[in-house]
Symmetry: C2
Subunit: 557 residues, 2 copies
């Protein structure tokens, strides 16, 4: 290993140390600034980023094979912009052969070098955050600012968080030791022992269309630091953000004299379905997936040779009991329900309110009044053209559009979805959120996920019943998030108990600029692994520990 390699870790030593301190302290930490401002990223960063994005359009993305199956062009901007970027079409056998070849070297590369490579990749991705913002915007449909943040610095933070966990756990578990066993008679027995983290093999990271980088980076970077190679299989609708990522990773590897095939892109036609083929191959020992419950469950059941980590559908829940900040609560909920048109895996879907209504700082509000006020808050947000563009973004595809267009059949329409025109992109697929009223007995409707801008206000007998329903639906269908609003500490405690039973992360009385759908890297866990919505959390010990084994040797000294 050349000296050059280790220098990479030294260059980023402060970043690593800060991240490791943060995952233990769980304090606020964000080494990659979320603000797309000139003062942070430089005067011309925005213009250069846009130009770099536009330079990709209509071109062959600069990646070759492995294999020789031609190229694919599969992306369609939800904003109507022509993308026409082509990528090498995945050749399963060629990819696995290349990845296995790279694995033999990569798993033997010392931890500090692997970590240094990962940190350098993240640093370069950070410098390309504007380009990434446009790439994420025009594949996922997020608004530009959200795409910049979630697809750039926030994703990088989550990637760094995984680097910190993986590096920390391996460093703690490996190294050398001298073992001295005293004997009754004679010299003690002395042995030298060496403990090595052995990566499991080829990792497969299956991306989603809505958060192509944010949901992939923890797996990608955890795999790299633990010594697995990575085949990145993007959603055919959101290839560019991951193609850029893979290209950056390969550049760094190549510059370090390492085999760039440690990171490979597996782009495919919409109906190629290679994820399932790759996931069952014996070489693939780690599979990470974000997407449908159906395919996630299939992977868990069938990719038996691999450590499988999935994030799937869920029924996120809000229990409203009482509040001393009625307007702020409504605004917070309306924002949470509207962000990226409800296309976040963390978007609240079910809002439970007691039939008898809720006490507030503005007096008692009946259930109907609360429902109307919440719908009104959503309508107000959606009516403001500037906020609408920034908050809603666009719908990722026509299936979401069809779902929201059909939402009026689901119950009492508290707020109907509309289709306003986007000021910048006339072809953008935009719908404002629908809010539907339901009674608690309509569980066949609200008991499953309706992905997109569709929320339910569900009237229940009382808060105890709301918590009961929250607990049951989450145990049955899963959830990434839950929230409660109450001025009564006993109710808050009951909500915490219900959340513990259901295994869901709980936000209490959010009224400021924190939304239930947002989790802060290094501090908030995303998912829990304790309910059907996910098998692990970003980033908990299990997410990392599944990616390597410990192997030792020992000898007399």
């Amino acid at each position: 290993m050349s000296k050059h390699n280790v220098d990479l870790l030294e260059r980023h030593r402060e970043t690593l140390d800060g991240a490791i301190a943060a995952i233990h302290g769980r304090h606020h930490h964000t080494p990659f600034p979320e603000s797309p401002s000139r003062s942070v990223y430089g005067e011309d960063a925005a213009a250069r980023g846009r130009a770099a994005f536009e330079a990709h359009l209509g071109r062959d993305f600069p990646l070759e094979g492995p294999g020789d199956r031609g190229r694919v062009t599969t992306e369609r901007s939800p904003y109507g912009v022509r993308l026409d970027v082509s990528y090498p079409r995945a050749d399963v056998d060629a990819l696995l052969t290349a990845s296995e070849t790279a694995l033999h070297e990569w798993r033997r590369v010392p931890l500090p070098v692997r970590t240094g490579v990962a940190l350098e990749i993240l640093a370069r991705l950070n410098r390309r955050s504007f380009e990434m913002g446009h790439a994420v915007q025009h594949t996922s449909g997020q608004s530009f600012v959200m795409a910049f943040q979630a697809g750039g610095p926030h994703a990088q933070d989550r990637g760094l968080e995984a680097v910190a966990h993986a590096h920390d756990m391996i460093e703690r578990s490996t190294g050398e030791a001298t073992w001295v066993k005293p004997r009754r008679r004679g010299e003690p027995i002395t042995m030298a022992k060496r403990f090595t983290a052995r990566s499991r093999g080829v990792g497969l990271v299956i991306g989603c269309a809505t958060f192509p980088t944010w949901n992939s980076y923890p797996a990608l970077f955890a795999d790299l630091v633990t010594g697995n190679t990575v085949i990145v299989k993007p959603h055919p609708g959101a290839v560019l953000p991951l193609a850029i990522t893979v290209a950056v990773a390969r550049d760094v590897l190549r510059e370090q004299g390492l085999n760039p095939d440690v990171v490979l892109l597996a782009a495919e036609e919409h109906d190629d379905r290679i994820a399932g083929v790759l996931a069952l191959r014996p070489e693939v020992r780690v599979v990470d997936f974000t997407g449908s419950t159906e395919f996630g469950d299939w992977l868990e059941a069938n990719a038996r040779q691999a450590f499988v980590s999935t994030e799937k559908a869920g029924v996120n829940t809000v229990v409203v009991d009482s509040t001393d900040a009625y307007r702020a609560m409504l605004a917070n909920l309306a924002h949470a329900m509207s962000l990226y048109s409800g296309q976040m895996c963390t978007t609240p879907q079910n809002v439970y309110v007691p039939t008898g209504g809720v006490p507030t700082d503005e007096g008692h509000k009946s259930a109907d009044t609360f429902a109307a006020d919440l719908a009104g808050a959503v309508a107000e947000l959606a009516a403001d053209p500037a906020r609408r563009v920034g908050v809603l973004g666009a719908l990722v595809d026509a299936r979401v559009r069809d779902r929201v267009d059909g939402a009026t059949d689901l119950g009492r329409v508290l707020l109907a979805s509309t289709a306003p025109e986007h000021p910048e992109f006339p072809e953008a697929l935009v719908r404002t959120p629908a809010v539907i009223g339901l009674d608690a007995d309509r569980r066949e409707v609200y008991g499953r996920e309706h992905f997109g801008p569709i929320s339910f206000v569900i009237t229940t007998a009382d808060t105890a019943r709301s918590l009961h329903l929250m607990r049951e639906t989450i145990i049955e269908r899963g959830a990434i998030t839950a929230a409660v609003y109450s001025t009564d500490e006993d109710v808050v405690e009951s909500a915490e108990e219900a959340a513990l039973d259901a295994g869901v992360n709980l936000s209490i009385n959010l009224t400021q600029d924190v939304f239930v759908n947002q989790s802060a890297a290094f501090s908030d866990y995303h998912g829990s692994g304790a309910n059907p919505a996910a098998t692990s959390s970003l980033t908990d010990p299990r997410f990392v520990a599944g990616r390597f084994d410990l192997v030792q040797s020992r000898r007399h000294v």
Copy 2:
């Protein structure tokens, strides 16, 4: 929670701190002394232990239900002693109901209390090590001294190691944090966050007949500290050691005002097969198993709702290349092959030697000479009545006897098994080890496990070929241990490379009183999870991380 509970941790604080320091330093550490001497355990400990054991014989073991399915009496001493101890027969529904009821409380008991309970159980088990020694001897067939050590202090060390890992990981990942996010304008956003480890549910620990406590304690204690309840399903042939363990655990829980059903015994008739029934129940979220590859694979494939950890069959390997301590090497190997009549999951089975022979400090030895000398060393050990009793013990059951009696058909007989009489127990099932010579092309014989006192000396083209075969058979069939003898550092390095590829722990040039089949708790890993012999290692981060999820709550301050 009463103050009394936390005192338990304080009482054992030094034990915990020492164990946590040891799992990180991997140095020699053994808080539970392995010597059954009076100076350590007290003048009358041996006599009291024997009396306590004998008091169980022919009696109802003092445990009741839950449920009402009568009692079972299933144990048969390999030494021919009548045991006739009866246990409540498992009632699956009643066990699960009781365990789930206990779970609701137990998972909410604070970590320091759970850890304190675990440490107190271990301390009491240590005081009963002589009683345990007899119980393990007369169920597994181990010699008394080995049963005392492996069933008592060594098992307790492994239990404590798991306590240390679980406590350390949870303590690192949980607690409270204040999160302060600066804002460009106005006050920062401040949130209070709480992180809780949520146990997965009911744990099922399926014991084996050969090491009923040693192989169960890591899972049992990891489950307890992570907040899972435990149903202990002993092998019908080795119930008493785990019944004693369960009774001790229940006493401690009861004294602490906790529900004793946190730990339950599930004894069964030989053909009840309740392990498979329990393992598939949705309440059961953790399954630990030691035993056959067939049932282990079945559990992994079918107990999909659970975190499954298995230890199964394997083909342990020794590669002999050269040595500067020929006699010591032979003695060490002979001892390793003979210990507990080869009935350890760590017993070396395949000894590879080059056709051209090996250079030694006693001159060049041809392959035939080496094979004859190794067989001779085993014969010499077995011929010494005192060593025979202490080293071999007895065969656990007639299936092992039948296997060794049929070993002569497997290849060239280098050493035939004999059936000497046991000086103390005339009915004891004793066989001396068989050593069989094979050529490398007989992989259909040596490529699978022959559980019991059967080893193969396999001649290969050269050491490179030996390492190749080691690598291949382990990748295919698994192994818990591997060893190499060589005076050539390049060969040692190649062996380390092969061991890394195969994912097996390697012992190098063992000649002193350390045997390849023995792993020292807190320092040596047992198994690796990287080959088919086991899914995780005792104790690595994954073994613990699979037993809990992290759940958080957050609120504005």
